[in-house]
């Protein structure tokens, strides 16, 4: 009952945030509202038992997206222009589509119904087979990394391509001196606390990375948290100092290395006489092999994701400081 209540309240809040996002003009405020929206949906995912998705949504939506969106808003304008005429046609289209979709839901199985068709077919098999064949408690990880390993490979390639695309579009400009905003230099409290928390964030990222088999987490979330730690450091100490820790060149190598580790695991299993990405060949014991394979590919995913996010961030920020801000 309490779960229903929390679920319904969170959905109501989501709806209100959505309306506020549409109505507001200031893009800065809209960005912050988007972050709130993301955090609300992450909480909703926890209530709905999707902890892995919640962790991803919290890290990506509320964290990285907001930072990148703020960087975009800083590069362009902060204010949205008022529309010239009343948007009657879009409103009509939206209301009509919505009404049709709501009519379509009337036949759907009710929320929480254990006999809904979705629960009767493939899913029970995964729940049943995972403990014996994979030996990993987190079924979502086993589905993502082992049963559907090809999909995850595709996903890593997409992320890699996204990174390469941003690299090609935004480019990267090396800067001679550390042109940090001098006002942030004065914020001693922020800088000290950042120094205190930077190692803890990295430690947490490693925990999420290697504990992904047993609890919510995995390579993707860990990569994002890892990148977040560096971005926080860059915000407090300037981009130049972060580049002394992870230079741009290293990031480019990391971006490729992650994908190569993933594909390498696949090829290794082929060389040992199995199929592509058949982990149980990797060790004498099939379950150990699965563990090893999942750990290695999650590592590959984590490395690529962290590198791509940092590359996108470097690209945005190096562009931002170069050009003097135009007067508005």
């Amino acid at each position: 009952m309490e779960e229903h209540l929390i679920n319904n309240v969170l959905l109501g809040l989501l709806m209100m945030t959505g309306f506020a996002i549409v109505r507001m003009r200031s893009l800065l405020a809209v960005t912050m509202l988007t972050s709130i929206y993301s955090l609300l949906s992450a909480s909703l995912f926890v209530v709905l038992d999707a902890v892995d998705v919640a962790l991803t949504e919290a890290a990506i939506g509320a964290g990285i997206s907001t930072i990148l969106m703020l960087a975009t808003v800083a590069l362009t304008t902060d204010e949205e222009k008022a529309p010239r005429h009343k948007p009657l046609l879009p409103l009509f289209v939206v209301v009509a589509t919505g009404a049709a979709l709501i009519y379509g839901t009337l036949d759907m199985p009710h929320y929480g119904d254990p006999m809904a068709p979705i629960h009767l077919h493939v899913a029970p098999t995964y729940l049943h087979v995972t403990p014996e064949e994979i030996g990993v408690p987190n079924v979502v990880t086993s589905v993502l990394a082992s049963f559907r390993g090809y999909d995850t490979l595709g996903e890593v390639t997409v992320i890699f391509t996204a990174g390469a695309g941003v690299l090609a579009l935004l480019g990267y400009r090396t800067r001679r001196r550390n042109s940090q905003n001098p006002e942030i230099r004065k914020m001693v409290v922020l800088r000290v606390i950042t120094k205190l928390f930077f190692p803890l964030i990295l430690l947490f990222a490693l925990y999420v990375q290697f504990h992904g088999d047993y609890g919510p987490g995995g390579g993707f979330q860990a990569g994002v948290i890892f990148a977040t730690g560096f971005i926080l450091y860059a915000l407090a100490y300037g981009l130049g100092n972060v580049q002394r820790i992870i230079p741009y060149r290293t990031l480019r190598i990391m971006m490729v290395a992650g994908v190569l580790i993933y594909i390498g695991v696949g090829i290794e299993s082929m060389l040992l006489g199995g199929k592509f990405l058949e982990y149980r060949i990797l060790a004498d014991d099939p379950v150990t092999g699965q563990h090893l394979g999942i750990m290695l590919i999650e590592l590959g995913v984590g490395i690529t994701v962290a590198a791509v996010i940092l590359i996108i961030y470097y690209g945005f920020v190096s562009r931002q400081h170069q050009e003097p801000p135009e007067d508005t």
Partner: protein, 91 residues
């Protein structure tokens, strides 16, 4: 009366999802600003995840991490499906 209440509560998630979806859709088609359009897509996308995950929930179930003492697990496959595309908006 009880039946109507039950039906409304059972479909409430899907209706909110549709409202959110339409909010995002409206932002995409009615607002000229590109940042706003992207945020509209973001709202739309999140609403699709909520739709998926609402369908995956089983009354009284727990997160699909095998542990002692838990009997019913919510659908893991849908979660895996939902956590694959969630990663694309990074780009």
């Amino acid at each position: 009366m009880h039946d109507v209440m039950h039906g409304v509560l059972g479909l409430y998630n899907y209706w909110i999802v549709i409202i959110l979806m339409m909010t995002g859709f409206y932002t995409v088609i009615a607002r000229p600003n590109l940042v706003k359009k992207i945020i509209g897509l973001f709202i739309f996308q999140t609403s699709v995840f909520i739709l998926f995950i609402s369908m995956a929930k089983i009354e009284g179930g727990t997160a699909p991490i095998i542990s002692e003492g838990a009997r019913i697990y919510s659908n893991p496959l849908v979660k895996a499906l939902a956590s694959t595309p969630i990663r694309y908006p990074t780009s």
